[in-house]
């Protein structure tokens, strides 16, 4: 079973794992994801591959603990084994050489734009990264992005770090000061991606978003991850996860993400009670 090689807390409830998976590390391209299970009876959790280390035969995933499954994963430690890791899944990012790209990552979305930024940079592009969070502690991967991007702009809602404001404010400011982009890549919470798409739409600026719908098998068998893109039915697991943001029906996607909200809350509550009863930190 795949072993967790290291664990690092990047922000409250946000953990970076390096997990042994040589086949996946060997094959993975930016933009792809894995499906991971922690235990028997557990969910199949889709997670973007944030980075790979081919020498160690490992992939890294960055996990925000929001529900039972992600919290259960985040409670695991280096040396533990997860039950299953399958991948790399999805289509790789559509990378083109020499592009001027703005990578916008909201919160945990930075973990998804980071490998994409690396991909464009490897093809001699100019990469500007905008990452943001509610507050300083929630901004992740700033150091890593500074190593790869030509320019990094950080925003926080409360002004505790970088510029006070939203990532869209920063994008608008960059465009106003004359930065020219061939493409924007935006990943983060749905409202953020929607806002970015509305900034770029009037400019006709190509904007790619990476979607994270509810997914089950991740291999094109169940159709649960379907989204409407330009009026067409698309399956995120095999047609995506990246799509033209100007074509995505975000409202529908947002509704579908809430399909199991009550079940998820009940499951989390039960899990926290069990952990409390076992004397473990919830």
């Amino acid at each position: 079973m795949p072993r967790i090689l290291s664990k690092e807390i990047l922000a409250p409830d946000v953990v970076r794992f390096w997990i042994e998976s040589p086949h996946i590390a060997r094959k993975r391209k930016p933009g792809q994801f894995v499906i991971l299970r922690t235990a028997e009876g557990g969910e199949r959790i889709p997670l973007t591959i944030a980075d790979v280390d081919r020498a160690r035969g490992a992939v890294s995933v960055i996990v925000q603990g929001v529900g039972k499954s992600t919290r259960q994963l985040n409670a695991m430690d280096a040396g533990d084994e997860v039950l299953d890791v399958a991948g790399p899944l999805g289509r790789p990012t559509d990378l083109h050489p020499g592009r001027r790209v703005c990578c916008v990552g909201g919160g945990i979305g930075a973990a998804v734009v980071y490998p994409i930024a690396c991909g464009f940079k490897a093809l001699h592009g100019r990469v500007v990264a905008i990452i943001g969070g509610r507050t300083k502690d929630l901004v992740i991967l700033e150091r890593e992005l500074r190593e790869v991007a030509d320019r990094v702009v950080v925003t926080t809602d409360d002004g505790s770090h970088g510029t006070k404001g939203l990532v869209t404010d920063a994008l608008q400011a960059l465009l106003a000061e004359g930065e020219v982009f061939d493409e924007v890549v935006a990943v983060g919470p749905l409202p953020m991606m929607r806002a970015v798409v509305e900034v770029t739409r009037p400019l006709g600026l190509r904007t790619t978003v990476s979607l994270n719908p509810i997914m089950l098998d991740g291999t094109g068998m169940c159709g649960g991850c379907r989204v409407s893109v330009g009026g067409e039915q698309k399956y995120v697991c095999v047609d995506g996860p990246e799509f033209d943001g100007h074509q995505v029906d975000f409202e529908e996607l947002s509704a579908r993400l809430g399909a199991y909200r009550e079940d998820e809350a009940a499951s989390l509550l039960l899990y926290e009670r069990e952990r409390l009863a076992a004397g473990e930190p919830a």
């Binding site: 086949h23 299953d84 094109g220 068998m221 095999v238 199991y260």
Partner: protein, 477 residues
Amino acid sequence: MAKKILQKTKNPMPLQDPVERARNFEEVALGYPVDLAVLEAQRCIQCKNEPCIAGCPVEIDIPEFIRQVAERDFEGAFRTLMDRNVLPAVCGRVCPQEEQCEARCTLGVKFEPVAIGRLERFVADYANLVKFTDDTPPQPPTGHRVAVVGSGPAGLTVAADLAKLGHQVTIFEALHKAGGVLVYGIPEFRLPKSIVEREIDGLRRLGVEIRTNHVIGQTFTVDELFTELGFEAVFIGTGAGLPSFPRIPGINLIGVYSANEYLTRSNLMKAYLFPATDTPAIRGRRVAVIGGGNTAMDAVRTSLRLGAEHAYLIYRRTRKEMPARAEEIEHAEEEGVEIIMLAAPTAILADERARVRAVRCIRMELGEPDASGRRSPVPQAGSEFDLDVDIVVFAIGQGANPLIRNTTPDLPVNKWGNIIADEGTGATQKAGVFAGGDIVTGGATVISAMGAGRRAARAIDAYLRAPSSDGFSPTDV
């Protein structure tokens, strides 16, 4: 000796009470007890021309195993089955025997045929109970290595047949559990997962290696199976693909499922145990399943077990045209499924939270026969009606999975994306690559996929043993 009086009808198999079973996931059919099995086997007249064998896609020596049951030689009967069929406990449960072996039974000309399926199931279950194992030693190792993509009925059959011939076989399965449709698709109440596991364990004992979490086309391409992993032949049995939805408003509302998703949540992910397991399924109080095949029956019967108060099956033709097995339709009705015939959905209606509130249907009448020979449904203008439901499940077929096609450009597919393969050998137009099951034929049955696996195994064996691969075309097999 007095001549025995021939019993004209099949001995019925005991079933769980319909009211009770509609609320649990325990197996519906309970199987023959020993004496009843012997009695049923004695109905076989051991006719000379053995038409039943020709009706079996994997050519089980049916009269022989039935004779052995009649003589209480259950171990012998088990070996006869295993000689031709590596999944007897599965086939005894899910094969459409009424269209195959039993349809040809000589006894069936005048009376009811011998209950061949029930006897096959009895022998397999009895063998498990008393721990018979098939200890036929495999042939000496040939040193040839074969990759099998997908661990459903086709892949398992190919793997077993080739392993018995001494080849080294590795199965690559995309999901975390082996078995394909037998574990994600067919429900526990029709095919207990412990039975599938037991039959797969048998394969492991034959030396077959099973690698789960390997998505071929992604983790490795078909070409990499040859070039990097050193396999000499590849069999593709990836099964069902992207589910189909009709082009009607509302199909992306919350509460609209493909049968694949609904069944996978329940069967593979065990949503019926939620929150003890972590993957939920929406517990619809009023559920509509669209379709008339076995998958539709599985979905609608699953909905009852997940707590539905009303489970509707909506089919655009009549009961007579339903592709599902008659027995499945009967079982569904006994359990309280309400069948709405001659109707098809035209829209799914939402509440204010984008959840399903109703399905709008239109009445059909049957017109002229279509290409399939069935009378085609014709919508009746102005006949729309709304049925209040909170879940709609579509079981109307599926397209081909794109993962292998997208990464294997020199593997020809037809206009639906299904792999083109020779029916008799499974050979594709790519050297060393064979295919069979639903990825070739589109949605079909477990046993037809096994039959394709059997034929492909023979062809792969011949391909591997061919003196030189130079100038050898696998289509010549």
